[in-house]
């Protein structure tokens, strides 16, 4: 008997990709895609159910299809210009998770739950250790916003895991997801012609590629492979670290350092015109950065990302077209100076 996988948040880009990928698995019989809005993309042979996870109707969906694996992807920072705005996103994140977990608790068929979370649950201040492990307690969290919601969601999931010890629960804390199709706030940020940064801070960033996200979700939704365990909480990030200044240079978009209050104003202005979602927590990320330890992901979950942080960023940069100062052109300018001075850089290389 094959598995029946229910995917929430299927109308988002990432949810859609996961739905299309997981239905190709040989041991998956049926994929049920759930979202409150009709997805703009194809879902292949998956069945789309128009349901709002904030309503109790989700319990009927679980029962009707005898779902045994729930992949909860409707925990998002919200795309800029999403219908209903920030409060609707928050409701989906928090109330939606509560409803879904309530339905799972009642369901006799559910065996496995995978929840998409974020490394933003660690917060990130000057007083935090440089590298977060899964057990690090956040020093302080923003009073509102996605980080708070994600940590609340994780709290509910922990409660659910206690009440239903027979269900394998896997929480995946993703670093910033990037890739050619990314529609996150950070992707919007890096698509601006100039990149506003916080003066005097050069945060360390980590990225995870969309393809790796889909793969690791598939790994977590299936049976654990030999010698691995796919329940628990895992940080998911590509290897290595990029500084924001490096990102801007590799992208060829000039960085404009602004004083911290000015960044907040600019953020509000951009938000008002709907250019990008510049939330306080994103400003925090761009101030202090965030790096997580991924040993658990490798050793326990047995997942090796295909892309490093730098490769993920390079793939993203390729998809976004040239900035104002493409690194190739800047590099050529240096080479020209070298040519004028009649020296050969390659000697030193």
């Amino acid at each position: 008997m094959g598995k029946v996988v229910l995917v929430t948040g299927a109308a988002r880009q990432l949810g859609g990709r996961f739905v299309r990928r997981v239905q190709r698995d040989p041991d998956v019989e049926r994929v049920v895609a759930v979202d409150a809005v009709t997805p703009p993309h194809r879902l292949g042979s998956a069945e789309f159910v128009h349901a709002d996870i904030r309503q109790s109707s989700i319990a009927r969906v679980l029962a009707e299809y005898a779902v045994d694996t729930v992949v909860h992807l409707a925990v998002t920072g919200g795309a800029p210009g999403a219908p209903g705005g920030r409060s609707a996103v928050k409701e989906t994140n928090v109330i939606g998770t509560m409803q879904l977990l309530g339905a799972c608790q009642k369901s006799p068929t559910v065996r496995r739950l995978v929840v998409k979370s974020s490394t933003s649950v660690y917060g990130g201040t000057a007083r935090d250790p440089a590298v977060f492990t899964e057990t690090t307690q956040p020093k302080s969290l923003p009073a509102a916003g996605f980080a708070k919601e994600a940590s609340e969601v994780e709290g509910y999931v922990r409660g659910f895991a206690r009440r239903r010890p027979d269900v394998a629960v896997c929480v995946l804390r993703f670093a910033n997801i990037l890739g050619p199709f990314a529609d996150s706030a950070l992707a919007e940020y890096f698509s601006m012609p100039v990149v506003p940064t916080v003066l005097g801070y050069d945060p360390r960033l980590q990225f995870v590629h969309e393809d790796d996200v889909v793969e690791v979700l598939r790994l977590a939704a299936g049976e654990p492979r030999r010698g691995t365990l796919n329940s628990g909480t895992f940080n998911i990030a590509g290897d290595g670290v990029l500084l924001l200044s490096q990102c801007a240079r590799r992208l060829g978009r000039p960085a404009v350092p602004l004083l911290l209050p000015a960044v907040t104003w600019v953020g509000q202005a951009l938000r008002a015109v709907g250019a990008t979602d510049f939330s306080p927590e994103q400003i925090r990320l761009l101030t202090h950065g965030r790096v997580v330890e991924t040993a658990q992901m490798r050793e326990v979950l047995g997942f090796r990302p295909q892309y490093t942080t730098a490769e993920t960023f390079a793939d993203f940069a390729r998809s976004r077209g040239k900035g104002l100062l493409p690194p190739e052109r800047v590099g050529r300018a240096v080479d020209r100076v070298a040519g004028l001075l009649k020296v050969d850089e390659r000697v030193e290389r």
């Binding site: 000057a126 007083r127 935090d128 250790p129 440089a130 590298v131 492990t133 690090t136 916080v198 003066l199 005097g200 801070y201 050069d202 360390r204 290595g240 670290v241 990029l242 500084l243 200044s245 490096q246 990102c247 801007a248 240079r249 590799r250 911290l260 202090h288 950065g289 790096v291 490093t308 730098a310 490769e311 960023f313 390079a314 940069a317 390729r318 493409p326 690194p327 190739e328 800047v330 590099g331 050529r332 240096v334 080479d335 020209r336 100076v337 070298a338 040519g339 001075l341 009649k342 020296v343 050969d344 850089e345 390659r346 000697v347 030193e348 290389r349």
Partner: protein, 345 residues
Amino acid sequence: MADAKVIPFGEDRPRRRGGGARGARAVDAVAAPAQPPGPSRESGPVGLPSPVEESVEAPAGRAGGAGEWDRRIAGGLAFLRRRITGEYEVDEFGYDKELTDQVLMSLMRPLFDKYFRVEVKGVENIPKEGGALIVANHSGTLPLDGLMLQVAVHDHHPAERHLRLLAADLVFMLPGVNELARKAGHTLACAEDAQRLLEAGELVGVMPEGFKGIGKPFGERYKLQRFGRGGFVSTALRAGTPIVPCSIVGAEEIYPMIGNAKTLARLLGLPYFPLTPTFPWLGPLGAVPLPTKWTIQFGEPIPTDGYAAEAAEDPMLMFNLTDEVRERIQHTLYKLLVQRRSVFF
């Protein structure tokens, strides 16, 4: 150490101490990170499109000293090229080895060589490889002693090891400072970061006195303050790395702190606000440190690998080891002070 000040003209790394062989090796070390990170090279035609004819005719026109300068300019341009295209690497702590080696160290070296004329003793006590925790006294109102310690370890150790300093959270709250501190390889003084670095085989520097040491009045100079809660000892025990005690003489007198404007410090959110004979009365001029003569002495390492696994949880052992480290540093300080001829020479 008078010989160390002789810098032969025409060396490839002019600021580097030591003999010619050392200098030559330094070039190799500099050239090594020039290997661009493989994957990110795919991002586009980042190759070297400079016309071939030029590079062919260039070496022909070189001879002797001129070739040396060409090499240096070429090295500088290659460095500039990597920097502005972002093709360099940092570790998970934000440590930028290339920037530290080529820029930050060169900025601190004149202060180390010419201004404070730092004399380094006992550098053989620092292991050639593997993790070790260097524990030093802290003084001087501004943490210049930490920076000088970093230069001392790098320039005097035969393996040119890089010291990873543990800094107070204030460092990481200040704009600008936090950026440079991370790039120079410093990180927050917390057990997690220290242990991670030690287990990775890095040389970690810590000044357990913290603000109590650096912000103490001039009258209490060279009197070691309490060593925190001895957290550094349990971290070293967990990682099984030796503890190298280190005594720094000379840093106490760079900004003699005769008073502390506590109310102002509280208003500014600082642990102390120093009043020295020159600061803040002379404005920015008062921020110039006095040119004292420094001595940095590394003591014999205290091994920590002979203890049982649960030793790190034993408070009695922690306090004993902490006291031992503290005593050793204090004794060495007194010894160095007796030997010292004058504060400035």
